[in-house]
């Protein structure tokens, strides 16, 4: 076994929300020691739980599982340690608490910065300035430090102080009008976290690039990510279409932007429901199919029993199929609806046609692929007695290194002893004082 790639790298994590919090999961999975700074007096929105630190049990007995689903219908006294939206963002990390708004807290933060390789944050512009946590101040703590800031629109420009979540900046960059049902109107969209995903991955990448450079030259650096600008790559073809041809694209539902290049039919088609109910109970079944060219189309035709309608000569060419997608969608749906989705999945893939069921959250853990890959791993939490659940493992593994879930999702303040005593060398008396003064805590303050 060899060490993980980021073994020995320490990241001081001042970030929040999904983008920042997931970026440090990626780094922690790669072996970095991530020190997540928290503060019992400050509630970081959308970082540990929603809507706040105290959740009435009544609020958790109905509603979508991902927002209000708690074990045994009980949010418990510390719901922030296992909220379903956030618990998976804390594996392989360490959490400590420190009130960095007070001078002593900031001084202690400085001492941690001095022994960290990189610091990151993604608050709205102004927050760090107010705290005096600036590039200059961090460099006084450690000359070769790396500092990454990732506010929604960057630290300069007209929009720098705009408050935004991923969904809003996707709107600004065009995605909300590019995705969704054709002609459906953007208010039929759901809020998604697409921008958080790409920003998280690229924050992790940027920090690794900077570590590479520092190892080569001994120099740290300052990194600025405007999450809005970073999201652009997801809509690259729409940007290219405008840049090359002046064409403004709009939402086309589940059809392929490459229909003219052979990708038609392409869509989500109904399958036979196996349950009693329909979409209201999550018993609806759907299959995704993408025909990528003539070969796929011929395979699909054969699988359907080569019906008369599919033999029409105008459907024999990619251009012909692209021009008749309404017809193709209608005919395909009439065929798929007779099948169970997993059965049709196997048949289509055996024929070499790209297809898969649309998996709802209840079917993930039992799926043969998910099980074969060991993607969700049974674990207990260290500080909360909620029993064993399956938590996501890293996105990918290094086969010669000990990866996986090295540390299960960390509780708020779980590593205070480690950070204060081992890293900062704080003695018993001072530890007690810092606890009395509220820096050290394992629960959010009742004042919140």
């Amino acid at each position: 076994m060899t060490a993980l790639p980021l073994d020995g790298v320490r990241i001081l994590d001042l970030s929040g929300v999904w983008a920042g919090t997931f970026s440090t999961v990626l780094l922690a999975d790669l072996g970095a020691e991530v020190l997540k700074q928290e503060n019992q007096f400050v509630w970081q929105p959308n970082t540990r739980a929603v809507p706040g630190p105290r959740i009435p049990a009544a609020m958790t007995r109905s509603g979508p599982g991902w927002i209000t689903g708690f074990p045994n219908g009980d949010p418990g006294e510390r719901p922030w340690n296992y909220h379903p939206m956030f618990v998976s963002l804390y594996r392989n990390k360490r959490s400590f608490t420190l009130d960095i708004r007070r001078p002593e807290g900031k001084a202690l933060l400085g001492r941690l910065a001095a022994i960290s390789d990189a610091v990151l944050e993604n608050s709205a512009v102004g927050t760090m300035e107010k705290l005096g946590i600036t590039w200059e101040w961090l460099r006084e703590q450690r000359e070769d430090i790396i500092f990454l800031r990732a506010p929604g629109y960057g630290i300069t420009g007209d929009y720098r102080e705009a408050r935004t979540m991923g969904a809003h900046l996707e709107g600004t960059m065009g995605h909300q009008l590019l995705r969704g049902y054709a002609g459906g109107g953007p208010n039929s969209n759901s809020g998604i976290f697409a921008a958080d995903y790409i920003a998280a991955a690229q924050i992790a990448l940027a920090l690794m690039l900077a570590i590479w450079h520092r190892n080569n030259t001994g120099k740290g650096q300052f990194i600025e990510m405007a999450q809005a600008e970073n999201a652009a790559a997801m809509f690259a073809q729409a940007y290219m279409n405008y840049s090359l041809n002046g064409e403004v694209e709009h939402a086309i539902g589940n059809r392929s932007i490459y229909a003219a290049d052979g990708e038609a039919p392409c869509g989500i088609y109904p399958c036979r429901s196996e349950g009693e109910g329909g979409a209201e109970t999550g018993d609806d079944r759907w299959i995704a199919i993408t025909v990528t060219g003539d070969r796929d189309w011929e395979a699909l035709r054969e699988l359907m029993g080569d019906p008369d309608w599919a033999r029409a000569p105008e459907l024999a060419t990619a251009a012909g199929r692209a021009a008749r997608q309404d017809l193709l969608d209608e005919r395909l749906a009439a065929w798929t609806v007779g099948f169970a989705d997993m059965d049709l999945f196997a048949r289509l893939q055996a024929a070499g046609v790209p297809a898969a069921p649309v998996m709802d959250s209840s079917r993930v853990l039992d799926n043969p692929h998910v099980q074969a890959r060991g993607l969700y791993v049974p674990r207990e939490l260290a500080r909360e007695d909620i029993g064993v659940y399956h938590y996501p493992r890293p996105l990918y593994e290094f086969p010669d290194s000990q990866g996986g879930i090295r540390l299960p999702p960390v509780a708020f303040g779980q590593d205070n002893e480690y950070v204060y005593r081992e890293l900062l060398g704080v003695g018993d008396e001072e530890y007690q004082r810092l606890t009395d003064e509220g820096h050290i805590a394992t629960a959010f303050s009742d004042t919140l």
Binding site: F86, M240, V248, S361, Y376
Partner: protein, 405 residues
């Protein structure tokens, strides 16, 4: 070269979108990415949008965007000469990335075991739909298919309709970004530990445990037995939702505790003078929501999305205007920040593209060259690897290499 990876050479055997986006990030930050293209080239050269709309493998907007800063070497790995050239290039590489179907690399005679035997310090990152080992390993995928299976598509869209995807290849681009972190980790292990590892990156896995909601719905279901369903319709509360306005739409979140700043946001209208609006509970009252929205929609109809966003910024509401693509291009803020980059390309002329994904003070992103023509750098790269002009001509004559004259 100013990028942080200016001491790194990547052999890039990826094609289509996810793999090339990962290696583009490397190339854009200074790595010498040698894109090995099969005869006929990366199939994404046959994906639009094309300049002028007419298919042409040198005018694909998809290929152009995802392959900036790379050098193209056309090799037929099914020939002995092509394989030999691959191994000569491999001698000078720090990292190999590929996204063939599982098993193809071995079948071509350039598999992991052979690589590892030749140079144990060189890592290989294999990107595939479902991974190298899975009951689905030979299954085919597409952006739609992989997002349907692995992402949180099921709960996206309206309850009474089918689930709906993101734009174009957004799910693949997300995976490509995550794959770049795998490549960077592999590169570091190779350089610092001398240990080349074979990393199996599955696009499906990167969504099944990725950050866009899937992990959360799976945890929520385990905890509570409740599935996450599509929403029954546009639930528009007080100042929360996607709203129509004079010239389009805005996405706004000004409810909850932020509602205390609603008067300021709306410019202190007379109808809000009533003290009842001070009670936070009023936001849950259906009659009050109706009354509020009657006024609010009128207010919206008299303002542009930019004006509304400005007002929202002043009172720190979460907000985004829903821009069309032409509006994004015209936006003065992104122009002033230097978001756009002008590329010059032999077949496409001058093309404006989104530039740096993030700014690095010491090692900035740089467009050194536009996407390559097929085989544009075959002769140059083979010469660097020690091939003489005669040898290169011989490879070209047998079809083992494609050399652009």
């Amino acid at each position: 070269m100013t990028g942080p990876l200016n001491d790194v050479r990547v052999l890039d055997l990826t094609q289509h979108v996810a793999g090339p986006y990962a290696t583009k990030l490397f190339a854009d930050f200074g790595a010498d990415v040698i894109k090995i293209e099969r005869p006929g080239g990366d199939p994404s050269r046959r994906l639009g949008p094309y300049k002028g709309g007419t298919p042409d493998p040198e005018k694909s907007g998809t290929f152009f965007y995802f392959n900036t800063n790379k050098r193209s070497v056309a090799l037929d790995l099914k020939t002995e000469g092509g394989r030999e050239a691959f191994w000569r290039l491999f001698e000078r590489a720090d990292l190999v990335a590929e996204n063939f179907r599982p098993g193809v690399l071995e079948a071509l005679g350039v598999g992991w075991e052979e690589m590892h035997a030749r140079r144990a310090e060189v890592p290989l990152v294999s990107i595939s739909n479902f991974g190298q080992e899975s009951p689905y390993r030979d299954y085919r995928g597409s952006d739609l298919v992989l997002y349907a299976f692995a992402g949180e598509m099921y709960s996206t869209g309206l309850l009474e309709r089918e689930p709906v995807k993101m734009y174009g290849t957004a799910a693949l681009v997300q995976s490509g970004s995550a794959a770049a972190t795998a490549m960077m980790g592999a590169l570091m292990a190779g350089r610092y530990q001398g240990a080349g590892q074979h990393v199996d990156f599955s696009i499906a896995d990167s969504h099944l445990v990725g950050v866009d909601r899937r992990h959360a719905t799976v945890m929520g279901y385990q905890f509570s037995g409740r599935k996450t369903l599509r929403s029954p319709g546009a639930a528009v509360g007080m100042l929360n939702g996607v709203f129509p306005c004079m010239d389009g739409w805005v996405d706004l979140q000004g409810g909850g505790p932020r509602f205390a700043r609603a008067r300021e946001f709306l410019g202190h209208p007379e109808w809000m003078e009533d003290e009842k609006w001070d009670d936070p509970a009023i936001q849950m009252n259906p009659d009050a929501i109706e009354e509020f929205n009657a006024w609010f929609y009128l207010w919206l109809s008299e303002r542009t999305k930019r004006e509304i966003w400005e007002a929202a910024r002043r009172v720190r509401f979460l907000c985004g205007p829903l821009f069309t693509i032409d509006e994004v291009f015209a936006d003065p803020n992104f122009r002033a920040r230097g978001f756009w980059t002008l590329a010059r390309h032999e077949a496409l002329g001058e093309v404006e593209i989104p530039g740096r994904p993030f700014l690095m003070s010491e090692t900035p992103w740089e467009l050194r060259r536009a996407a390559p023509l097929l085989g544009e750098h075959t002769a140059e790269v083979l010469a660097e690897a020690g091939y003489g002009a005669d040898e290169i001509a011989a490879l070209a004559a047998t079809g083992a290499a494609g050399v652009r004259s």
